[in-house]
């Protein structure tokens, strides 16, 4: 299971392993400095040479670790690692399990355990060289317990604490029983203290209690923090999964929309040819070009021709709607000056308006240039003006106004027509929807014109809104982003 875009679980451990190595450079420098300062401080008993040797070994050891860390990402093979692996898994904090990447996490945990153990050995040597049970370095054992609790499981932390404690006990009892030499810090230091059972015992108990208490406290906090990290990680994975599902669903929707629109276009296109021929043939007959026509035949042919015309208008509008929908899908865009375009549309429609005695008013002074498909935008403007003319009674007017503001171009087409009832306002942009008063007032009309307008406006990153007062008039407002 891989989760792209998300750092692997082991990265947390890896980061700390690197940090741990950096700390050790400081420790080595500290040890060397302490050895150097011993004379100045009057710690005459301190064996400077061996302590410097410890500092040197620490540097060599840390250099080795530095290179090993870089290689840990590579999966080791061999029987040795196989047995180490099962032990390593005990050391991995439980919260890191079940998140994938486990073998890598186990390698880093094992690596941390080995490091802390070797550090304890260094620390024990340092302890031995600096006064044994009375050495001020004893408190450094606590640091390693803290580090172990951050990196390892609770079990691992106790195990690590025990390793440190046993090493400490080895030094204390070794010196007590005379198995190890004693290196007093200086002559003033009670030289016999390491030989006192009560001092050795008390020292052990106090340090043991400190180590185990520290390991309990730290691992409790660490487990709690790691639980939260785990919860966050699981949550973010869940969110990523949901996001992917949403994206997939959206893509499916887009695809089906595209298919629907292509299908619609194909069907409309197939219908258009034969319908056009029917219309033309009927017109030829109706206009007497194929011989004389008597009354009833003329009437029937006239009806057929009118109905064929209606059907042709629907297929034409369906085709326009499909084209408008697909226009957003990668059509080339050019700058379109709306003032000129509006003036042309108004001139084209002026004869229709005049024949109906509807005044056409134009105010294109506001200018406005948009980026888009000029054929589609012309269609949008023409549909709105045509609509205005269609639903305005003789003597009324249709006014088209162009304004530019805030980087947008606004076209308002306002008529003094029959208006739209409030309950119809939200539906006038639906496909095939015609308001009741519109159907009553004008028989012709496909119910697709405003749907086409809406698709075109939206495909150009704009929108279309409508306001109306039934009986007084309607105003459509198209807002398109201006071309910069």
């Amino acid at each position: 299971m891989t989760h792209s875009g998300e750092p692997p679980v082991s990265s947390d451990l890896e980061r700390r392993a690197v940090w741990f190595i950096k700390l050790r450079w400081l420790a080595a420098a500290g040890v060397a400095t302490a050895a150097g300062m011993a004379r100045i401080l009057g710690l005459s008993g301190l064996p400077v040479g061996p302590i410097l040797a410890v500092a040197g070994s620490l540097i060599v050891y840390n250099t080795v670790l530095y290179f090993v860390t870089a290689r840990l990402s590579v999966r080791p093979v061999g029987r040795a690692w196989e047995s180490a692996d099962s032990f390593a898994r005990l050391l991995v904090p439980r919260t890191f399990l079940g998140l994938g990447d486990e073998s890598r996490v186990a390698r880093f945990a094992f690596f941390a355990f080995v490091q802390v153990t070797i550090d304890f050995v260094f620390l024990a040597v340092l302890l031995h060289l600096s006064g044994g049970v009375g050495s001020p370095f004893a408190v450094f054992f606590v640091f390693h317990v803290v580090i172990a609790s951050v990196l390892l499981s609770r079990r691992g932390t106790y195990l690590q604490t025990t390793v440190g404690f046993l090493l400490f006990a080895f030094v204390v009892w070794g010196e007590y029983f005379g198995l190890l030499d004693h290196h007093p810090l200086d002559s003033v230091w009670p030289a016999c203290a390491y030989r006192s059972f009560s001092v050795a015992f008390t020292g052990l108990v106090v340090l043991g209690a400190t180590l185990y208490l520290a390991s309990y406290l730290c691992s409790t906090v660490a487990v709690d923090l790691r639980e939260r990290v785990r919860a966050n990680l699981l949550l973010s994975r869940e969110i990523a999964g949901e996001k992917q599902k949403l994206e997939d669903a959206y893509e499916t929707l887009r695809e089906s929309e595209r298919t629907k629109s292509q299908y619609m276009r194909k069907v409309a296109h197939e219908l258009r040819g034969p319908l056009g021929t029917i219309e033309t043939a009927l017109k030829v007959v109706l206009q007497g070009m194929a011989g004389a026509l008597d009354g009833p035949s003329r009437d029937l042919i006239g009806r057929a021709e009118r109905r064929a015309g209606e059907l042709a208008a629907v297929t034409r509008d369906l085709l326009l709607l499909a084209r408008a929908r697909e226009a957003g899908l990668g059509a080339e865009r050019v700058t379109v000056a709306l003032d000129g375009l509006l003036a042309e549309v108004i001139e084209d429609l002026r004869p229709a308006a005049q024949s109906k005695n509807v005044a056409l008013l134009i105010d294109a002074g506001g200018g406005g240039v948009v980026l888009g498909d000029p054929v589609a935008i012309r269609q949008l403007v023409a549909n709105l003006v045509e609509n205005g003319i269609r639903y305005t009674r003789p003597g009324g007017s249709v006014a088209a106004r162009l304004r530019s503001q805030d980087g947008c171009v606004m076209l308002k087409v306002e008529d003094t027509g029959i208006g739209i009832a409030e309950e119809d306002l939200t539906r006038v942009f639906d496909e095939f929807y015609r308001a009741a008063n519109a159907r009553e007032y004008a028989a012709e009309g496909t119910g697709l014109g405003l749907a086409i307008c809406k698709v075109i406006a939206e495909r150009h990153g704009g929108n279309i809104t409508v306001e109306s007062r039934p009986g007084h008039g309607t105003c459509f407002t198209v807002t398109l982003p201006g071309a910069s």
Binding site: A281, K283, V284
Partner: protein, 142 residues
Amino acid sequence: MPSRAKILIVDDDKDLVVALRFALEREGYQVASAHDLTVGLEAASAERPDCIVLDIMMPHATEGFHFVWRLRQQDEAYFRNVPIIVLSAIHERTDLRFYPDSSDGTYQAGEFLPVQDFVDKPIDPALLLERIDRALRLKPPA
């Protein structure tokens, strides 16, 4: 004079050709027809029509375009001048924009199409007659 003029209809819709033939013959025109590009070019050479009425969307989508260019490319002045009226929903004011697109690379959207007139489909026969009459009147003398 127009009554004896010869009109070539290049359109794959045979029913439409029949209907248009009635309308044109009634006005006294002689009518020839062709159902595709190749037959159309042959008919243009053989019949030397005074005007060509041309559909664009023939079997191969934009065959009408190829017809225009191949006809106009011929050396003889007749082929460069014979008026062509395109039967298609091209709007004169908009640039040439066709559906389907120009992806076959033989022409560019917006490229000038060397024809005399456009009549939108569905065709109003009276309007077509008017446009043919105009094209013949505007035709440069041979």
